[in-house]
Subunit: 230 residues, 2 copies
DNA sequence: CGTCGGTTTGATCTAGTTCAACCGCCGTGG
DNA sequence: CCACGGCGGTTGAACTAGATCAAACCGACG
């Protein structure tokens, strides 16, 4: 795992003891629900998930996606209650942590505390970018940005290996991420297909030309540095 | 300051030594610019500011607002580079911290470390809410949400005293927050005025009916708890 | 073989954009 | 003292990106 920063032996020991077990959920399963008070804290070991909020009348907004190495439920662990839900996009393997040992972690593991803050800041940066996109980019730019963004994140955790990367999302997910209707999302994605930037599969998106997508969206990409892993 | 959690004497001592000085900037001044590598870390002591990103062609998206007690430049301090800019909306007094003492803080001040993470999580939650708004609410709902949101935040730091609260923003700021054009923003705000939910002043917004705004936006408000202060 | 979720396509409609003025206020310079 | 320019706000008209409505297709699956 060359993508992550190395641990000290002591940190490793703490993380092991912090870990309570593993959890496997199938695609489409709810990992955390909005309003859950005693939310748990997880790390993704493998698979894709997404965070979202809904309005009373059912309108849904996808806030961000979670990939291996990302924390799930941090807001709940730090502030107390979850204000969003998390759902699995693919089969997901989670590492379950003991939430009540958070204070211990902050007291005795400054390195890990910093890592958690680092991950929170990174999430914030991604949200900034998504907000810019939804607020100010056109439908075509938004779609291009989203796919390029997901491609980069997948690449950053080594998911873009020998065989082509398939992002496990439906067009409904894309629509709910971009703030568009499904119909218009479909028409927009077709344009990306026509331009040979992506290929659309059954319920998945294949990225053909990441550079072309970034250019279309006028997006420079995440300045990805060595990241912490918890 | 009943809104904030109390400090231990030792924490107080650390914060004092962490503080390097104060900085006063006038309305409209840039506090931090995107791309600044050696970004500083601030807390707002008084005044309003906003964070934003821009696309190459000038399209601007306001990401969030900063009020007294909020950290500015945390992303830069934790990850290294600023990916957004911050500008003052009113005269702002800042408390300047020594960025290079962050490691010391994490090593020796678990309480403060936790507070920083808490603030980062809160920022994330606000961004989630803003993203939901921009992505899925209508123009009228968005505008109502924004004003109610800013009102609540101002109230949470005691800005809503005896005399009416004036939020120091122009309609251009509102437009760039909501992802709308100025023209349509103007027409939308007029509707809020007609409904007697707000009053518009020279370059400021007065909130007349916070509850009515929240209802219109179908927004429950921030579940505001006792917050940390740094 | 029917049904259902995901995708596709065309037609119509509308929320929000763009264009174009204009107003009032204020600070600046002649 | 006044003319001028710029910024913030306002308003109407024309336009368009994207929404909504409607229907059909397609593969998987019971």
């Amino acid at each position: 795992m060359t993508h992550f920063r190395p641990f000290s032996p002591e940190e490793l020991k703490f993380v092991s003891s912090f870990k309570r077990g593993e959890l496997v959920v199938e695609a489409g399963a709810m990992i955390l629900a909005e309003g859950a008070h005693s939310a748990q804290l997880f790390t993704i070991l493998s698979g894709w998930a997404f965070r979202f909020k809904t309005l009373e009348d059912g309108r849904r907004q996808i806030l961000n996606y979670s990939l291996p190495g990302d924390l799930i439920g941090l807001q709940g662990s730090i502030i107390g209650a979850m204000e969003h839900s998390v759902e699995a996009l693919s089969p997901v393997v989670l590492c379950v942590f003991q939430r009540d040992r958070m204070p211990d972690l902050f007291r005795n593991q400054p390195g890990l505390s910093f890592d958690i803050t680092w991950l929170a800041s990174r999430e914030e940066r991604m949200l900034d970018e998504n907000l810019l996109s939804v607020g100010r980019r056109s439908a075509l730019e938004r779609a291009a940005y989203l796919v390029a963004f997901l491609y980069q994140r997948a690449a950053a955790v080594g998911l873009t290996g020998q065989k082509a990367l398939l992002i496990p999302i439906t067009q409904q997910h894309v629509a709910d991420t971009l703030g568009l209707s499904i119909v218009h999302t479909n028409k927009t994605l077709r344009k990306l297909v026509e331009r040979k930037l992506i290929r659309w599969h059954d319920r998945a998106c294949e990225v053909l030309d990441p550079r072309g997508l970034m250019e279309l969206a006028a997006w420079e990409g995440l300045p990805e540095t060595r990241r912490p892993l918890i």
